[in-house]
Amino acid sequence: MARIGVFVCHCGENIARTVDCERAAAALRDLPGVAHAVDYKYMCSDPGQALIKQAIADKKLTGVVVAACSPHMHEKTFRRACASSGLNPFLAEMANIREQCSWIHEDRDAATDKAIDLARFIVEKVKRNVPLETIRIPVERRALVIGGGIAGIQAALDIADGGAQVILVEKEPSIGGHMSQLSETFPTLDCSQCILTPRMVEVVQHPNIRLLAYSEVEAVSGYIGNFAVKIRQKARYVDATACNGCGACQTACIVRKIPSEFDERLGKRTAIYVPFPQAVPNIPVVDRASCAYFKARAKGLKKDACGKCREACSKGAIDFDQVDTFVTENVGAIVVATGYTLYSIGKDQPEGLSGYGEYGYGTIPDVIDGLQFERLASASGPTSGRIARPSDGKEPKRIVFLQCVGSRDPAKGIEYCSKICCMYIAKHTMLFRHKVHDGEATVFYMDIRANGKGYDEFVRRAIEEDGARYVRGRVSRMYRDGEVIKVFGFDTLSGEPVVIDADMVVLATAMRPQRGVQQLAQKLSASYDAHGFFNEAHPKLRPVETNTAGVYLAGACQAPRDIPDSVAMASAAAAKILGLFSKAELEREPTVASVDAAICAGCFQCERVCPYGAVTRVQVRDRLGTVVRVVAEVNPGVCQGCGTCQATCPSKSIELAGFTDEQIWSEINAIVV
């Protein structure tokens, strides 16, 4: 026999201004099954909660309904209050008479009637609530970090320093990411590799970190605290245990003209290569597509195939018969730190984007992007730090820099701002002017976004001390005119067209998510936006989590971001994970689905519609062990309680605890009656 307690909250003026709470409480008091009904000014306050606790004790309540604000705000508050009085927290519910009533209506009488109805429906539901117990699942105290750029490195180090095990997976042959390609970093003009490489070494030497470079995540299953991750370790064709990093293989290699990815195609590498001298791990990789040995082997010419690297290797580390291997690891949490790639202005674009035909579609050799300029400026780059034109190697005397190429350009398909370009273009002008004292640097910009600490001062320094000329306006077109590139821009501040014969043009192209990130997101059941940036759980208050429990984000994979913010975000993700790992068990809300195996028809529509991959198939066996049926089963650790399965199931054999069909129908009937 139900004895429900109803508490109508005034919420100060928020509810009471429109809803007559006293009348509501009085009406609800008369309902069958309601043993207690009062109204009060602030139910969420201590005295308010005390009212609930007292009523539970005095009136032996079997359920509680608080008619107040949204359950998003205070459901936990009132459930805790009930629990502390010995009433199962899942016997308490809220009726939203604020967002769904007082905040949207004006007529006091009608609003009060509606508030009474809203509370009444919930009362009918609560009559059918059953006590539920919090689900507890064990936690594997290991983390997987996907991506070995600065964000991934920071996250790995922080988690490892916190005492937990980390597996760091990086798809390139070396960790370091784009930061390892940079010449100097803003706003300090620190040498990028100098500040990065110590961290890289720390990673590889840390006892708690297992580094899997040249590897990719193949498949992910499981749930927070209990993921199973299959990782593909790609074949280097070099035995990592034998190789001592001497580099003799690279010296011996006969294929020497492959455009180097690390040097953004401005330099050349060999077929067997290490991307850069400070690579971690310092073990080369054979680029099978370019390797003379593999090409000969593909033609069936094993006898004539090259093997110069194998001959040169004193450790016998070259192994052309290596194959990709797979490992499966159990981890409790995953950090996505896949970073970014730069938008290209070429004609060939993914769906939804256009290139810049007006800037030559990338066919003009001396029109380069930011990362290419970094490689030119870098002392370890293809020109040893000399700024040189890719077309003829001459030193450019006049460089034009364009900001916002792709970014803030809805016509090309990218409406967002890439955040870092204003800063790195200012940096580029300074690097150029420091190396070429009589060089002219002109920057075409729309706005200057230099929001960080010391950032605005940095841009001013470029203008005031290093002589960079900033012109506010965009460039309509550029084309090659003999030896120079004619750039047609406009100075909106002085109101004049500006035409420059440039020796080189640097385009600040937009930051985009890394290639292939959508497939990875699908493996993780993590959501991403139309551009491919991962979605955070809440843009303001949960920036490093995703809506998939156990999957965290760090760095530019979530949105364009600079190094300090990426590092901060990585540490934040690490903190969240260490918090997760600090408990022996994970508590989850019991409002999860469960299948009645007896009536489940085994159609697996639920499996198909579940957004979280929470449904698995289990075999039902008879006493002899023969499989008689395969039915669905919900993993309570993964299920997020969305209810899609329940709505879909044709045989009504799957239900969400706390939201069973019976409970929902009782609400509906109350509305209709």
Binding site: P410, V475, S476, R477
Partner: protein, 190 residues
């Protein structure tokens, strides 16, 4: 992904920006004054108001200044600005609307250009097609530029490019009716 267009309309007389938005289907507020249109405009060297200036003045509701300017008549409608604008603002369509407003408000139009358009359209109304000799004669009468290109006349005739007689089409009355109806609609402000 992009924020929806503002649906807040100001009370009272619609602003110039609202009128332009209504006529072109594009929201002038999208213009963030980057100047890319003006950087590529072939007439930027000859106009005082470049395309981005026009967009700015539209957003500042400077109707009189715009309608009185000669610059809006110097637009070639080459559509380069339209092709390049990052926000798809369509300055060319905006200028077209301003031109129409200027005509409707009887604002001054630079004489040769007004004369040319008037002469051209008169020919079309007269015969249904543009009779080039008629265009030249009327233009010269309107502008007094009798000697301009006069030396080219014999050459044009010799090349068989100038017909001396206009050729009226059968449906010339239809064409005249279309003209009347469109001019009446413009007067009503439709």
């Amino acid at each position: 992904m992009r924020a929806p267009e503002s649906k807040i309309e100001s009370p009272g007389r619609p602003s110039l920006a609202e009128e332009i938005r209504h006529a072109t289907g594009r929201n002038p507020a999208r213009c963030y004054q980057c100047g890319k249109c003006s950087a590529g405009c072939p007439m930027a060297a000859e106009t005082s108001l470049r395309p981005h200036d026009v967009m700015r003045l539209v957003n500042l509701d400077r109707r009189d200044e715009l309608l009185a300017s000669a610059s809006i008549w110097l637009c070639l409608t080459c559509e380069t600005c339209v092709a390049r604008c990052p926000n798809q603002c369509d300055p060319a369509a905006t200028v077209d609307v301003l031109r129409e407003m200027a005509v409707a408000s009887s604002c001054a139009v630079p004489r040769p250009i007004a004369a040319f358009h008037r002469s051209f359209l008169d020919q079309v109304q007269r015969t249904g097609r543009m009779f080039e000799l008629g265009l030249m004669i009327e233009y010269k009468l309107r502008t007094g530029a009798f000697l301009t290109d006069i030396t080219a006349a014999p050459g044009t005739v010799a090349r068989g490019k100038l017909s001396f007689l206009p050729h009226a089409i059968d449906g010339v009355k239809e064409v005249r009716r279309i003209f009347k109806a469109c001019e009446a609609a413009a007067e009503e402000g439709a």
